[in-house]
């Protein structure tokens, strides 16, 4: 199997779906002639033409609204938000229209929205956010956040083929940093299934997206402790069984997310654990997150707010010693 970057894996997955299914098309800002701000769709307009690779105006509401209409009519649009942060402009079409059409009218909305997200490169407050939790409160949407190249390709395919609107959180910091062997040809990583990134006995770190790398690095050699790392991959629906099985095994849980702290994925999973696995806990459920602040431009300040390897180490050590 060839070793690919996360970026190339997304690009390949998208291209292969477009080749296999004529109803799949892309739309977004600068995705055509320019090949996308991060070059995910580089070469697409040459291969598929302007009819299937649309350069749109700077209007996220229009991009998502157009995609909803196309999806209802049977196409499978893939929208790119140039930065995940910009999706707030398209919020209404997404949470009030796309998310509710099946509930209200029985219509399927097989669309995908790609959200280049996350910080770590001094992008500042408008280009560094992880807005996934907003969408966990809009029933009808699915949300995925791959951490490996293999899952990035498999999940973009699954997102495109799913009959529901799916938000695909692609972490910008992983684009060129995450590399791995990626199967050739089309395949699907199932939605709603977590991946055991590392098995362990003493403590579980539950995380997703770029923080999987942080967690793996932090716990690779932690004073000899055997630390399990669970990569959620899908945030909505998420893999309750995998979470609970791991908690029952290790009885100690650290939740790591790059998103801000309040009401996030980590909070949701902490609540699940409290409800379903209270009697299996051997210590408090601990979160390591970005505090509830905007992301600063300044590199030292940004490092200070985003969870770092040492933060995860510290939290794990504290809990192991509890």
């Amino acid at each position: 199997m060839p070793e690919l970057t996360y970026l190339k894996a997304i690009s390949d997955g998208l291209r292969e779906e477009m080749r296999a299914d004529e109803s799949v098309f892309c739309l977004g800002e600068d995705i055509g002639a320019f090949g996308g701000a991060f070059k995910v769709t580089d070469g697409f307009i040459e291969e598929f033409g302007e009819d299937r690779v649309w350069d749109t105006p700077l209007a996220e509401n229009a991009i998502i609204g157009t995609a909803v209409g196309a999806a209802v009519e049977g196409l499978r649009p893939v929208c790119e938000m140039q930065f995940a942060d910009f999706i707030s402009c398209g919020f209404d079409q997404l949470v009030n229209v796309a998310a509710k059409l099946h509930y209200r009218q029985g219509l399927s909305v097989p669309m995908t929205v790609r959200l280049p997200s996350g910080g770590g490169f001094s992008g500042g407050p408008f280009h560094s956010q992880n807005p996934e939790a907003w969408f966990l409160q809009a029933p009808g949407l699915k949300v995925v956040a791959p951490s490996t190249a293999e899952d990035a390709k498999g999940l973009i395919a699954a997102a495109i083929r799913d009959p529901n609107p799916v938000l695909f959180m692609e972490h910008k910091h992983l684009y060129r940093r995450a590399k791995g062997e990626v199967p050739e040809g089309r395949y699907e990583t199932p939605l709603g299934e977590a991946r055991l990134a590392r098995e362990g006995e003493d403590l579980t770190v539950i995380t997703y997206g770029a923080m999987v790398l942080t967690a793996l690095e932090a716990t690779e050699d932690l004073d000899g402790a055997s630390v399990e790392v669970l990569d959620l991959r899908s945030l909505c629906p998420y893999d309750r069984d995998a979470v609970l099985a791991s908690v029952r095994k290790t009885s100690k849980v650290v939740l790591v997310q790059e998103a801000t702290r309040s009401c996030g994925v980590a909070a949701e999973i902490a609540a699940l654990i409290a409800e379903e696995a209270f009697e299996d806990l051997d210590g408090p459920v601990v979160r390591v997150t970005t505090p509830d602040v905007p992301i600063p431009f300044s590199p030292p300040l940004e490092r200070a707010v985003l969870p770092q390897v040492d933060d995860v180490k510290e939290a794990c050590r504290e809990l192991l010693a509890y």
């Binding site: 009885s251 806990l281 601990v286 979160r287 390591v288 505090p291 707010v305 504290e318």
Partner: protein, 476 residues
């Protein structure tokens, strides 16, 4: 608050004022003995007034020093029942009533606590440092939690507690490797592995208490409740038998024990009230039969009771003479309907919480109030004022399948309505054209006992006919 601090770190626990009409109370049980540590608001005694049984909470954490009123004694409101030692003498830095007792009595020397607090705090994670809201897994600074009263050991985690119960382990025998000696899951697993060969006691089947969260597990209660005489007698009677093996034989012992048992305070009160009512009122019972089809259709899966209560209130508004109390030779007819609902507490007894101003409520409002009062009655959380001032009472043994009964009037009221079970019966119905046919209808009997001193049979029958009309013509 039923307590007052004294100058020397002692807190007095007094007989609480429970509602305006209560002047005295009886100690039913001491839940704590002198020397026991108590937490703030932890129930330390069970008391009974002539209206309700309730608990006396500890006004502060500390050690129960002295019990001044014995079980069975009845004392006035405000009498000192016990004293609680709230803090070590001389340690007057914190107000006595705010100081957790464990701190004073912990084995851990105070110096040790200081040392830990002053040690350089471990480097906080960045996320934590900036928002400071994280749960503190370690005991730095303010993160120290109140500890249990077992000598300063850190709280047991849920999984360790569960494993200890499952395997019947004494946690004090396991050396803890966690912070401050906490026994971790890992320690328990290691201990179990080490002691694998030793025949552990077979897992004891826990008494189920799922159906009733209020019922205590049997072994915890039985020995205390058995009067000394009966307890001494029991082994003699069982003499030919081999010595019973404690828990397993409890059932066998139950018969002789209950034979010599004194009535509970509640049962004594009920006995007294019932006999007094029979002696006082000229009881007479009138019965009507009613077709419950309309209510059956309206109620869905809900109880009949709130519907019948609503219809009863409507009938009482039409016949206010039944919404009355008779004290001596003075009859008072009440404007508002304060509806008593008999709530069974199982073998313990019966209590009649009152829905004040019930005439202002719809059947839905009544249902909510009945549910709330019944729940709190079973949880012994009723206020005395919630069981007084009734003007009419409904009792509902029909829920348990009874067909007819002659209830005893709840004094000083003049009538009590008994709702019996609803049974499908063949009845003759007459259609609009006057043709008769036999139909299957959900039928019930409304049995009302009334006081012939206050009213006569005609009025009772009229009232019941109105009730029947209300029920059969239920409009929702």
């Amino acid at each position: 608050m039923s307590s007052s601090p004294t100058s020397d770190g002692l807190m007095e626990v007094t007989m609480p004022q429970m509602g305006v009409s209560v002047a005295e109370g009886t100690i039913v049980e001491w839940k704590k003995q002198p020397g026991d540590s108590v937490e703030s608001d932890e129930p330390i005694a069970q008391i009974s007034t002539d209206k309700v049984e309730t608990e006396v909470p500890a006004p502060a954490a500390g050690l129960l020093k002295e019990v001044l009123v014995e079980v069975g004694e009845t004392v006035d409101v405000g009498t000192v029942l016990a004293t609680i030692e709230t803090g070590a003498a001389g340690d007057g830095q914190a107000p006595a009533d705010e100081k957790p007792a464990e701190e004073a009595h912990a084995d851990e020397p105070a110096a040790d606590v200081e040392a830990e607090a002053q040690a350089p705090a471990p480097q906080r994670t960045r996320a934590q440092a900036t928002d400071g809201e994280r749960p503190a897994p370690h005991g730095d600074g303010d993160g120290r939690r109140p500890e249990r009263g077992d000598g300063g050991a850190p709280p047991v985690t849920p999984v360790v507690r569960r494993m200890a119960e499952q395997h019947d382990l004494d946690l004090s025998r396991i050396e803890g490797s966690g912070r401050r000696g906490r026994v971790t899951k890992r320690d328990v697993v290691a201990y179990l592995r080490e002691h694998e060969g030793e025949a552990a006691e077979p897992e004891r089947e826990k008494a189920l208490h799922m159906e009733s969260p209020y019922r205590e597990e049997a072994p915890a209660v039985a020995p205390e409740e058995a009067p000394a005489a009966a307890a001494a007698e029991a082994p003699e009677k069982a003499a030919p038998q081999p010595q019973p093996a404690a828990a397993a034989e409890k059932a066998a012992q139950a018969a002789p024990i209950s034979g010599g048992r004194e009535l509970s305070v509640m049962r004594k009160r009920i006995a007294e009230h019932m006999v007094r009512s029979l002696r006082t009122a000229a009881h007479c019972t009138t019965i009507v039969e009613a077709d419950m089809s309309r209510i059956e259709a309206a109620r869905g899966r809900r109880s009949y009771l709130p519907f019948v209560a609503r219809a009863t209130i409507a009938a009482l508004r039409e016949h206010p003479s039944l919404n009355a109390t008779l004290e001596g030779e003075v009859l008072t007819v009440h404007e508002e309907v304060n509806l008593g609902i008999a709530v069974s507490l199982g073998e313990e007894g019966l209590i009649v919480p009152v829905i004040h101003n019930a005439h202002e409520l719809s059947h839905e409002g009544l249902a909510t109030r009945i549910k709330d009062l019944a729940e709190r009655a079973r949880g012994k959380r009723l206020q005395p004022d919630e069981v007084s001032g009734g003007t009419f009472t409904i009792t509902n043994p029909g829920a348990f399948g009874a067909v007819l009964a002659t209830p005893i009037i709840n004094q000083p009221q003049v009538a009590i309505l008994d709702l019996e079970t609803v049974v499908k019966r063949p009845v003759v119905v007459t259609d609009a054209d006057g043709h008769d046919s036999i139909a299957i209808r959900p039928m019930t009997y409304f049995c009302m006992s009334w006081d012939h001193r206050a009213l006569d049979g005609v009025l009772a029958a009229q009232f019941l006919s109105t009730l029947k009309r209300q029920v059969e013509g239920w409009q929702g």
